[in-house]
């Protein structure tokens, strides 16, 4: 399969890339890892007059801890995240999820920025950054702005990014002591998107009650879904099997999955409930709770 014709531009810097986006607007598309974009072009599900390749901009690839935040450059490849000790030690939810994204060859090219900015609710990292309370940094002609992850997704493949903006960085708060996070995903086979998946981050107080709970669902609606009611319910509660059962039901109810070849609505909702309970238990254990 061959994509429809387009012009290719290799941006040497962010400024050059933003300039190209400003010039071509809706007819331009950013190319980073290309692991979603190229299949889209080849299958002719979409076409663009101009591809702006930002994958050679080395300044977009980094993972560093600074002032209570871990800052991840949007061009950081999945294989780099997978091998990062900083990620493994702080974000169990990412360490769980990254090895489950597509397959190793795809992870050698695919980037976290692409996974997050594509706006595909089947991607795993959107729900994760929502659960972690991350901020997304976008740069455009007028400078930078920061967008909370839970306000970034507007609709299927529609995000808060403007046509001339580039997602440049993800800022994830360093979890306080007594925090733990986990990702649980059901997929039919390697490389497939999730039937259902749930990201959880918990912080406990000194007595073992929940201080903050971040919960979000993958592939359960046209956008990643923040399970707000489940988080509210958990706040202040001392986790028990009953509490987890109620919270996971509330989490599953936050989704609005549609039936497809991965299953019926009922099945997907039930799987979201089971996975939420498993993710909650795993996060709790990692937070040092019982």
């Amino acid at each position: 399969m061959i994509p429809a014709p387009f012009d290719y531009h290799r941006a040497g810097s962010l400024e050059e890339a933003i300039g190209l986006l400003s010039r071509y607007k809706a007819d331009a598309k950013l190319l980073s890892g290309g692991m979603s974009l190229l299949p889209t072009l080849k299958l002719r599900l979409g076409s663009f007059g101009h591809l702006v390749d930002i994958s050679r901009i080395a300044s977009l690839e980094y993972i560093k801890e600074e002032k209570g935040m871990v800052r991840i450059g949007a061009g950081t490849r999945q294989c780099t995240l997978e091998r990062s000790e900083l990620i493994r030690s702080k974000y169990g939810v990412l360490a769980d999820a990254v090895p489950l994204i597509a397959d190793p060859l795809v992870r050698n090219r695919g980037t976290i920025g692409g996974n997050v900015a594509n706006g595909d609710p089947a991607n795993d990292e959107p729900a994760i950054i929502i659960a972690l309370g991350a901020e997304l940094v976008a740069r455009g002609p007028k400078g930078e702005r920061s967008i909370p992850a839970n306000r970034f997704y507007k609709d299927l493949f529609v995000t808060d990014l403007k046509a001339d903006e580039i997602l440049v960085e993800l800022r994830i708060p360093v979890p306080p002591p007594r925090s733990g996070s986990a990702y649980r995903k059901l997929k039919r086979k390697t490389g497939d998107f999730a039937v259902a998946a749930v990201a959880v981050q918990l912080t406990l107080d000194a007595k073992g009650a929940v201080e903050r709970a971040g919960i979000a669902l993958t592939n359960a609606a046209p956008t990643p879904i923040e399970a707000v009611e489940a988080s509210k319910f958990l706040a202040g509660k001392t986790p028990s099997e009953d509490v987890i059962a109620k919270a996971s039901r509330l989490a599953a109810d936050a989704g609005a999955p549609s039936a497809d070849r991965r299953g019926s609505v009922e099945y997907k909702r039930e799987m979201a409930r089971v996975l939420a309970a498993r993710a909650l238990r795993a996060a709790l254990e990692r937070a040092g709770g019982k």
Partner: protein, 157 residues
């Protein structure tokens, strides 16, 4: 649509080509450079038969643009053999009967040769994970895993 002049090091040799933006790396390799050892399978980045090494890393060449390889090194299955001597993974696949129809073999060889560069003695689990983006529909994975273990021993003792 403008064409792009690109320079690529293919199996150690400097090559140049003038390509359309939309030309895929796998077609550059097969149709321009006439190296047909790299196969086209699913053409949707699932099966991995088109796997080549781009700057040493295994990637699916059906899902990379040729122009993206400009200035990079590309290694294909034709480059594994050196001076008439098969690469350890090629020898191991023969020795352990790790192929039947052979269609997936070029991709398997590239992925597993890259694995053994990075990890001198991978566990069975690590081998299975490494080849999880390469599908084999006839041999099954048992002998492929055995071959990689055999190659690891040959290469690194």
């Amino acid at each position: 649509m403008a064409k792009h002049k690109i320079s690529v090091t293919v199996n150690g040799a400097a090559r140049e080509a003038e390509v359309e933006s939309r030309l895929l790396l796998v077609h550059l390799i097969r149709e321009v450079f006439r190296l047909t050892g790299t196969h086209v399978g699913c053409d949707t980045s699932h099966c991995g038969v088109c796997t080549v090494l781009l700057d040493g890393q295994p990637v699916k060449s059906c899902t990379v643009l040729a122009v993206q390889a400009d200035g990079c090194s590309v290694a294909t299955v034709e480059g594994l053999e050196q001076g008439g001597k098969l690469h350890a993974v090629q020898e191991a696949f023969t020795e352990k009967h790790a192929l039947q129809c052979g269609f997936c073999t070029p991709g398997m060889l590239m992925t597993t040769s890259a694995l053994l560069e990075r990890n001198k003695s991978p566990s069975e689990q690590q081998i299975r994970e490494a080849i999880s983006g390469n599908l084999c529909r006839c041999t099954g994975y048992l002998n492929i895993v055995k071959a990689v273990q055999y190659a690891a021993e040959k290469m690194h003792g």
